[in-house]
Symmetry: none
Subunit: 114 residues, 2 copies
DNA sequence: TCGTTAATTAACGGATGCGTTAAACATAGA
DNA sequence: TCTATGTTTAACGCATCCGTTAATTAACGA
């Protein structure tokens, strides 16, 4: 896999188990065992998923005694959506209104600066 | 890779060459050869990337004589952003979507003007 | 029909992804 | 210190991804 940041983020999201883990973390921090509970896969597998999420910056982890707590850090999702926003005009008709509005504002600003 | 729709979409986006192809298609439909031109990889490799994008629904293809034209279909991006939107409240405390969008657009515009 | 152009498919190699089980590590606590 | 608990690392198997080159398919056009 390419190691640029966006690729790492999208790759992390391309697994349903990892997306489910993120969804679970919305409800609050959780330990590895807690996160593993809903899934029919081994603990080491979950551990690896968490590593992937951590490397993508989607979670941060803290240790307290022998427990490793994961917490959600959705900032990378902002980057990912920012990338996709560039395509919004192709599916979102509201964008046209917004874009027109923006253009008007810019024109206005430019005139003000003259 | 899991074969659910979101996984397929995110996996398709997890490659910089494929994202570059999508970016190129914003400017209009293109043939395989045209799409391959900026890259230092072989035509068959591009052909496979296009297949991945097509299976993710991100492009549609038409044939005219011996040319296969690709055109952008960003609908899957809407699905992907829809999934991510559920996390927006965690990164955008102001939650002023319009404002954020305008800010992004302005930045982009400024960069384009440089 | 033959040659040219456009694109895909076939066959292969190497890297990575995702799962497993077994072993190791880290900490708490009797 | 010994044991239990939580988690990670090691080692492996198998599937998939991503690239290559060579061969094949498809359509045009002299």
């Amino acid at each position: 896999m390419a190691d640029d940041r966006l690729s790492v983020i999208f790759a992390a999201l391309a697994d349903p188990t990892r997306r489910a883990i993120l969804a679970r973390l919305v409800e609050g921090d959780a330990t590895v065992t807690e996160l593993a509970e809903p899934f029919a896969i081994s603990l080491p597998a979950i551990s690896r998923h968490l590593k992937v999420l951590e490397q993508a910056g989607l979670i941060t982890r803290s240790r307290s005694a022998q427990w490793r707590s994961s917490s959600l850090n959705p900032e990378p999702l902002r980057e990912a959506t920012a990338w996709m926003e560039r395509y919004r005009q192709f599916w979102d008709t509201n964008f046209d209104r917004l874009d027109a509005h923006l253009k008007r504002m810019r024109t206005q600003t430019e005139q003000n600066e003259k």
